[in-house]
């Protein structure tokens, strides 16, 4: 008995000791009030920074923020764990698209192994290359691969999670400064420069190959970057004010999560309404929530949260409608006062076959799906004087597809484009690293900067212009032409370029066949769903539908349009009509190669709809209003007959009751 008591006491003491340790490790206020972060800075080796020291190192968010917050746990969160071994793949989302304009390359990449994407390593992209290419929009947590040599990571420093990208609130956080530091390979200095704590000078990318960081810096010789901290920002205790919010503002999310429709017919940015939730006063994090572990809720139906938390009411349906068989408050929906949709007259089977986003999200569908640009793919958020609507990578949206659960949802779609080597049996296609491909592409096609523009835009001769526009109009400058004439010229240019392309690609593929540096196997070029290769006779063979040329798509959730702009809100014929883009719209594969006859898919086919059935529905919807009138009249007359004979029957029954005995 005594022994049992002693053992129990040890367990209790150990447990309370553990609890005490846990409490000491990280600080919490447990208040809804925002804690004022007037804090000291720490470097990557967790040493306190003296901002007056001319050789002061850059501040490390890992050490500084990690002093009170569980950085390790945060690093496992959805935004940061893609590079982590064994991280969950999660529902497929937007990939990183490796775009090399010189070679007409756009390869969807993901460390998460999403079907249809490449692992960066597969296409010869090291983690270093990945960060230097995408670090501009990558929220952090990357170092050298365990198996790879350290390379220049010892100069750049590891890329820690920069907490302030999301949690900074005073708009002094400068993502452009962050991107510039990444471009200079100043990974460890990027957070300091971006938050504006000091001026960072120096450029790791310019340091010589054999630069030794351990050697003390010498005057006039290249050195590691330096930080000159802005002294006025610090108090005598070396503390600096960090304007931090617990819940990041939408503005911060938009840096990485902006998506804008582009192309003809798209309203100007100022004339777009953005997401209706934002206009209602919500922020992204109102739904896309997380705890300290940063397992950010993605908000789709059926999402399983790693914490085991019930997040069903953080999806559109869960929040606006609630769970059908709700048993707890968490399942009732109506969070933050979300209105319950009326969906008047819409048969419930629509809610089984369609995601909420199908009718409510993204740009309204057109007969031919439009183009979109995203932050990750098109470097939105960073200033550019050369960004154009048709820039690579070409992303098409909305494309209505059936997901794994058989539900139709709007998606964004991108077709891979790359030079590759194909195995003899045609099964395996291995992309050639664009860096390796560029030499051959340049010499064979005389491409300087932009494959798509230089190959895709043929010059029309004066005679060709005159044939299209007439002698007089052809002499005018392009800016003086009408929009219709400009379109005519553009179409003719593309057609001419497409006509010339087979000859050009044949030349390039022949050059790749001779080039042994870019690998073994049959050289191929993939673009817009087509695979180009040379046959045994040296003639161009174009194959459609090869597995390597298949598009990759991912669901789009935003921008959510107001209810009145949802498909079907006005009329059933928004979809149930012969000219409905939702069903009869087309999706033309798009890529850097000019193509006069692109692979074109119908929305109905993509959704797996029976087109005959849909045709039948369309026909029957023409008579729907008439049916309603007939049914109403019939019901009225039937009711009249029932009332009339019902009253007669009642009268008869009364008479029977009162019959003489």
């Amino acid at each position: 008995m005594w022994l049992w008591c002693a053992a129990a006491a040890v367990v209790v003491l150990a447990a309370s000791g553990e609890r005490a340790l846990a409490q000491d490790r990280f600080a919490r206020t447990d208040s809804r009030n925002q804690y004022v972060h007037r804090i000291q800075l720490y470097d990557a080796s967790k040493k306190l920074i003296d901002p007056s020291d001319p050789n002061a190192p850059p501040y490390s968010p890992m050490a500084t923020c990690g002093k009170c917050h569980d950085y390790k746990a945060i690093a496992h969160g959805w935004h940061f764990n893609a590079l982590e071994k064994g991280a969950p793949a999660g529902r497929p989302g937007e990939p990183w698209i490796w775009t090399d304009r010189r070679t007409g390359t756009q390869i969807p990449l993901s460390y998460r192994g999403w079907d249809g994407t490449f692992q960066p390593g597969e296409v010869g992209m090291s983690r270093w290359d990945f960060i230097t290419t995408f670090g501009r929009h990558y929220p952090g947590e990357a170092g050298p691969e365990e198996t790879a040599p350290e390379g220049r990571w010892n100069l750049s420093g590891a890329l820690a999670i920069d907490c302030m990208i999301c949690h900074g609130d005073n708009r002094s956080y400068d993502p452009e400064a962050y991107a510039k530091q990444i471009a200079k390979h100043n990974f460890a200095w990027a957070p300091t420069a971006a938050i504006g704590l000091g001026y960072v000078s120096g450029d790791v990318s310019r340091l010589p190959e054999k630069f030794d960081p351990a050697k003390p810096p010498e005057e006039g010789k290249p050195s590691l970057p330096k930080v000159a901290y802005y002294q006025h920002k610090f108090n005598p205790d070396k503390e600096v004010f960090f304007d931090i919010v617990r819940r990041p503002s939408t503005n911060n999310c938009y840096y990485c999560h902006t998506a804008r429709p582009v192309g003809p017919g798209t309203p100007a940015d100022w004339n777009q309404d953005n997401d209706v939730h934002m206009k209602a006063g919500l922020s992204c994090v109102a739904c896309h929530r997380n705890g300290i572990e940063h397992h950010t809720v993605r908000g789709f139906e059926g999402e399983k949260h790693p914490d085991g938390a019930d997040v069903s009411t953080l999806s559109c349906r869960g929040c606006h409608i609630g769970e059908h068989d709700a048993t707890s408050l968490a399942e009732f929906g109506g969070r933050l006062g979300s209105p319950r949709p009326h969906h008047g007259g819409i048969p419930p089977l629509h809610f089984e076959s369609l995601s909420c986003t199908a009718c409510h999200s993204g740009p309204l569908p057109d007969m031919s799906a439009g183009q979109m640009q995203t932050s990750l793919a098109h470097e939105l958020g960073l200033p550019s004087q050369t960004r154009e609507d048709g820039d690579q990578p070409i992303i098409i949206a909305p494309v209505y597809l059936r997901n794994e659960a058989g539900v139709i949802e709007p998606r964004r779609m991108v077709w891979p484009a790359y030079w590759a080597r194909m195995s003899a049996d045609g099964e395996t296609v291995t992309p050639i690293n664009p860096e390796a491909a560029y030499g051959v592409v340049r010499s064979s096609l005389r491409i300087r900067n932009d494959f798509m523009r230089e190959v895709g835009e043929a010059r029309l001769s004066a005679a060709e212009k005159a044939k299209l526009l007439g002698e007089e109009r052809a002499k005018l400058r392009e800016t003086e032409l009408t929009q219709e004439e400009q379109l005519k010229l553009a179409r003719a240019t593309v057609e001419k370029a497409a006509g010339e392309f087979p000859e050009k690609i044949t030349k390039a593929l022949a050059a790749f066949a001779k080039d042994k540096k870019s690998g073994e196997g049959v050289p191929v070029y993939i673009s817009a769903g087509k695979l180009y290769r040379l046959g045994d006779d040296g003639k161009l063979v174009i194959t459609e539908g090869h597995a390597a040329a298949k598009p990759y798509s991912w669901p789009l959730g935003h921008d959510v349009r107001p209810a009145r702009q949802a498909l079907g809100a006005a009329e059933c014929t928004d979809c149930h009509a012969a000219d409905s883009p939702f069903v009869h719209g087309t999706v033309a594969a798009a890529g850097p190669a000019p193509d006069a006859t692109p692979v074109t898919m119908k929305m109905a086919a993509l959704q797996g709809l029976d087109e005959d059935l849909w045709q039948a529905w369309t026909l029957s919807f023409q008579g729907r209003d008439a049916f309603k009138i007939v049914a109403m009249v019939a019901l009225a007359l039937l009711t009249l007959v029932l009332v009339l004979y019902g009253l007669r029957a009642l009268g008869g029954f009364g008479a029977w009751l009162n019959r003489p005995k």
């Binding site: 007259g345 089977l349 309603k628 007359l637 007959v641 007669r648 029957a649």
Partner: protein, 187 residues
């Protein structure tokens, strides 16, 4: 649940028919049931045929879809709605044409000169059952087509439609049986 109710309805209808048939046999010697559906003419017969065929299509498409899958969609739903159009018109015409002969006020038995109606009590009851169930079934579906009802109300209307549809099928079978029996009896 729907499957159990449908099965129960099937058994109940079969039981009613068997009991009615047996009781008819027992009464045969004493009182011959006086039935006749003649007098409604070719048009009446044609409309009745349309009503029965459309009811059969409605029943077939719904039971074929709902019993195994729990819902109706695709070609079955399209056929169901197509048949509904015919059903609406046919039910209205049959109700108008058959209402007077099926008036419940006058007795089915008694001296022949006091029996203006042409149908037995069983036929008349099943007829009115058919009309009432038809109106409920039609009404619930018609309301759900208007923007008046929201999703929960539409779901309730669908439930009412499902079960009143079963009642329509039961009534149609009973009515068809009694009319057929009457015609057989009338020779």
């Amino acid at each position: 649940m729907y499957g159990i109710v449908a099965l129960g309805m099937l058994i109940a209808v079969a039981a009613i028919i068997v009991l009615h048939f047996l009781s008819g046999l027992a009464r045969r010697g004493r009182q011959r049931e006086r039935i006749a559906s003649r007098g409604l003419g070719m048009l009446g017969a044609l409309v009745y045929l349309v009503l029965i065929v459309s009811t059969a299509v409605l029943a077939g498409t719904s039971l074929y879809s709902i019993l195994p899958q729990g819902h109706m969609r695709g070609w079955m739903l399209w056929l169901h709605l197509g048949a509904a159009g015919a059903f609406v018109v046919a039910l209205l015409l049959v109700a108008i044409m058959w209402a007077a002969p099926c008036d419940m006020c006058t007795p089915a038995s008694g001296p022949p000169d006091q029996r203006p109606q042409r149908f037995s009590t069983f036929t008349r009851i099943s007829f009115w059952f058919f009309v009432v169930a038809g109106v409920v079934s039609l009404g619930s579906m018609f309301l759900s087509m208007l923007t008046l009802l929201g999703t929960p109300q539409i779901e309730l209307a669908f439930e009412i439609h499902r079960y009143s549809g079963l009642a329509v099928v039961a009534a149609a079978v009973l009515h068809l049986y009694s009319v057929s029996l009457g015609r057989l009896a009338a020779g």
